[in-house]
Point group: C2
Chain length 188, copies 2
Amino acid sequence: MDERQRARRPGGRSARVCAQVHQAVTELISEHGYGNFTVGDVAARAGVADSSIYRRWGSLEALLTDVALTRLNTRSPMPDTGSLAGDLRTYAANVAREITGPDGPAVLHLAVALSGNGQQGRQAGDDLRAERMRQLQSMLDRARERGEHAPDAFGVLDHILAPMYIRVLFGMGPLTPDYIDGLVDRLL
Amino acid sequence: MDERQRARRPGGRSARVCAQVHQAVTELISEHGYGNFTVGDVAARAGVADSSIYRRWGSLEALLTDVALTRLNTRSPMPDTGSLAGDLRTYAANVAREITGPDGPAVLHLAVALSGNGQQGRQAGDDLRAERMRQLQSMLDRARERGEHAPDAFGVLDHILAPMYIRVLFGMGPLTPDYIDGLVDRLL
């Protein structure tokens, strides 16, 4: 956790405001979809001033990224099963469940939208990916420390995550357990 | 070429209208971006009636797909170099050049947008992918007929196209020749 993230979650009143704002964003996303509401809408729903949101997050894009990352970390935490194959199979299955769930593609569309959305959007998208890649690399480093031969995080992105992401983004049907395990086995 | 496609390009006056409408769509995309214009805008620019466009294409989504496919087939035709490795390297390099060009990500964003855009959009997106996958499969079948051991079209999608698409959609920097050739070599 870097300085900026620590400063965002100091506990007490600040933590309550943060939780209210996250809740407001989650509700607005499910009602209107990503990108169809403003900082003013979030502030009104959360019962805080617009300025509080800008002070803490800096931009709507950074706030959306923070919410997406919190959601990913809660719902798809990095597994620690004791073996690389077990970790990757569990991780891939979690990601597949998340991106094919009821509001699953939303976080993918957010990542795509951020990249095409000016400097603040690109920065927010970069932060989101960098944090998830860092977590993934930790999981792979643990495998290396156990003496297993592990790919790097970009190998996992290219050959496990990217195929699943593209099939969901292009609406190409379900991600079956056989398909997901096949991606993992092929990479290993 | 199936019945419907044959009916769309009968030559003569019809072919001229088709060319004018394609040209109008290309101009509107470069001026406003995919999704930010209507059938009426296309008709006005092309100097034809709205009803001509609906009669020939059925929907804006189907028209956009036809334009995207024509563009892909013109600019990234399937290569025939005499070897599978040569074909895949050339094909991957062409796709990379296309999706990282000045208006390159547009066709990717179109494919993503179509999938999230109701029944007509999904059908148009399915048609676009089915046609490109059919062309890709022909290239792979030629390799098999020469006695080479070829992956199927879905293998190429998952392990060559998807990684490049995701890196472009997420704004993750250039696709270098080494990176692209590495994807091909790994699949083979």
